[in-house]
């Protein structure tokens, strides 16, 4: 008996040592993550429960959940939330649809395929601020813009795109940047589809239309979901485009830009702004949870039947 007890002790000790051998290499990364994300988050959480103005300087006061109450009462905040939703939904849906169409075209063999694919991916690689500047000054601009050059060439009057359709001006740039991302995800899905399944459909007499809607689209479903969720997580946080293109012009102030306006952008209400950002974080976490669930479902994979 004593022998077995000491034996199981020894096994436990080995298991513990093995567990720590796995954990130790992860510790530096974990510490770093905690320092740069979790600590500031706790500060934000604390600030969001205080009233704290810097201009004019006032002492920080604990006010409980007052900021949150104010926030849901605020018409401007509700408008910003609505703008965020519109911006995200339109940008994600349009880029998924466009990305799918382009992926379907790219999935067939043609001369110069690699080159075309690289060109199509480029918008995704451009910094958001640069994309915003390029579109604002070279595409939309009433004075120098390509669009107005074409419009004038056709004999129409110049249009101030950005001030006329502030939200859409931003959505179009977002779609331009995010279509390549969606295209890549969908293309991976298309290339993961078994060629013989498509051949079986041909032999079974399915039209190209029926094949797409009854076989390819269900196969792409997890990829589309992944694209929508990842796109939503990123696009709900869009700041650069808004700042550069409209500067929060009418109907284009989304929540991140609103938070900026209320804090370092001139409002100097750090307590209130912290409350806004906490709300955004919570919303993002909810979306991300769904996203991760879909992602893990995708990694388990459909059995190649």
């Amino acid at each position: 008996m004593a022998a077995t007890a000491s034996r199981s002790e020894a096994v436990k000790k080995l298991q513990r040592r093995e567990a720590w051998r796995r954990r130790i290499p992860l510790l530096p990364a974990l510490l770093f993550t905690i320092v740069v994300t979790q600590v500031p988050f706790l500060f934000s959480l604390w600030y969001s429960l205080t009233e704290w103005k810097i201009v004019p300087p006032e002492p920080r006061q604990f006010v409980g959940v007052d900021n949150y109450v104010d926030l849901f009462d605020s018409r401007f905040f509700r408008e910003a939330v609505w703008t965020s939703i519109l911006m995200t939904v339109f940008a994600v849906l349009l880029s998924v649809i466009l990305g799918t169409l382009i992926a379907l075209l790219l999935d067939r063999k043609f001369f110069g395929q690699g080159f075309v694919r690289t060109l199509l991916i480029t918008p995704f690689l451009i910094m958001p601020v640069v994309a915003g500047l390029v579109w604002k000054n070279q595409m939309y601009s009433a004075t120098f813009g390509v669009f107005n050059w074409v419009i004038e060439g056709l004999g129409f009057d110049r249009i101030e795109f950005v001030s006329r359709w502030p939200l859409w001006s931003i959505v179009i740039v977002l779609v331009w940047q995010w279509t390549p991302f969606m295209m890549l995800i969908i293309l991976a899905g298309l290339q993961g589809q078994s060629a013989s399944v498509l051949e079986a459909a041909r032999v079974d007499g399915a039209s190209p239309r029926a094949t797409f809607f009854q076989i390819t689209l269900p196969h792409l479903r997890p990829y589309l979901e992944l694209g929508v969720l990842l796109g939503s997580i990123y696009l709900i946080q869009v700041f650069d485009h808004v700042a550069v293109i409209t500067g929060g012009g009418p109907g284009s102030t989304n929540v991140p830009y609103f938070v900026f306006q209320r804090s370092i952008g001139g409002g100097w209400q750090f307590g209130l702004a912290s409350a806004y950002s906490i709300v955004v974080v919570v919303a993002s976490i909810i979306i991300a949870t769904f996203g991760l669930r879909v992602l893990s479902g995708l990694l388990e994979g459909e059995d190649p039947a």
Binding site: E199, Q214, E302, A305
Partner: protein, 359 residues
């Protein structure tokens, strides 16, 4: 139901000089199960896909019944195909998989369900109709793929190595079931396999292909007893036929010191050909261990229970040569024994180019 005919049908893949299938001529009767067999790269799958309409026919034509289908798309050929990996539609249930083709033909739902159920009954799949393919075992998936084909009641079944993803035991069992099913339904079937045992056991006729060229299409027994050339002789039969290169002398041909008595048709062909070298073929069961004959040393004994195969190293043209000899199941021969090998059955003689000599 219909006959199938290949007429000088060739397929040349783009960028390749050599045809994958070269001037194939083949007639398949109504209700026949024809097996296309050959090593990998022999063009057997390509030939099947040409019939399916999944590969272009670059030259010649393909007929199903009276119709020239050479340029028809797959959906206009009234064929059903079973793929090696089954190619089930992963997002659909078993029932939807089996009814998919009927749905495309706009068959009313009630009739569709009736036909799916009937096929499921035949294949013992009734309790799995609501499952997705990923929740089925390999054997069940194979049956769903079969079901998808038989639901359609097509003119021709095309099967591309349908059993090669099953384990050995299930493969043998399914082989018999499949042959039985085909006979009951009486649908013309073209079946591709690389497994010559499968070909011999299932095919009404077997067509052997090599490098895209049809070598021989015959009943299994004829293929076995009268192979038209050296390749077919070596490919059909397990263990393979002993093939021995030897010189023609005035006395005829010999393996080592063992002179062979030849069929008169072979002897006359030999003199007429005046070939310096020929290949002699003897199947293992047509050799025996005896007290007299060609002496040699036993190197391996493969005991299979009902029979055993003894590998004997003999001397031929001054060099060692291994002959495989069939012996009784309860053989007492062991490695290292010195034995004598004698011929106890028909021999085959192939000329230098590989073609059969004599009858």
């Amino acid at each position: 139901m219909a006959e199938v005919r290949y007429e000088n049908a060739s397929r040349i893949y783009p960028g390749s000089e050599i045809p994958a299938v070269n001037e194939l001529n083949l007639d398949i009767d109504d209700g026949e199960l024809l097996v296309l067999v050959g090593p990998s790269g022999s063009g057997k799958s390509t030939a099947l896909r040409m019939l399916a309409g999944l590969e272009f026919v670059d030259q010649g034509s393909v007929y199903i019944g009276e119709n020239d289908v050479t340029l028809s798309p797959p959906q206009d050929r009234d064929i059903a195909m079973v793929f090696q990996n089954y190619a089930l539609y992963p997002s659909m249930t078993v029932a939807a998989n089996m009814g998919f083709a009927l749905k495309q033909q706009k068959v009313p739902k009630a009739e569709r369900m009736e036909r799916v159920r009937e096929a499921a009954r035949i294949l013992d799949l009734e309790e799995y109709l609501d499952r997705k393919p990923k929740n089925l075992s390999g054997g069940q998936r194979q049956r769903v793929a079969m079901g998808r084909a038989i639901v359609r009641k097509p003119q021709v079944f095309l099967m591309d190595e349908p059993l090669s993803n099953l384990d050995a035991k299930l493969r043998v069992q399914t082989r018999t079931e499949l042959a039985d099913l085909q006979a009951r339904l009486g649908v013309t079937t073209v079946y591709v396999t690389h497994d010559q045992v499968e070909a011999m056991t299932m095919g009404h006729r077997v067509a052997v292909l090599k490098d895209g060229v049809l070598q021989q299409a015959d009943r299994p027994r004829t293929l076995y007893s009268k192979p038209v050339n050296r390749f077919v002789a070596g490919f059909i039969g397990s263990p393979a036929m002993n093939l021995i290169d030897t010189d023609v002398t005035s006395e005829g041909v010999a393996i080592g010191t063992l002179g062979l008595t030849l069929d008169p048709s072979v002897s006359s062909a030999l003199t007429a050909q005046d070939d310096r070298e020929v290949t002699v073929g003897v199947r293992p069961e047509h050799l025996k261990l005896s007290t007299a004959g060609l002496p040699g040393e036993v190197t391996v004994v493969e005991e299979l229970g009902s029979e055993s195969f003894v590998h004997v190293t003999v001397e031929h043209r001054g060099e060692p040569l291994v002959l495989v000899v069939r012996d009784a199941g309860e053989t007492t021969t062991t490695r290292g024994d010195i034995v004598h090998v004698d011929v106890a059955g028909p021999t085959h003689v192939f000329e230098n180019g590989g073609a059969r000599l004599g009858e």
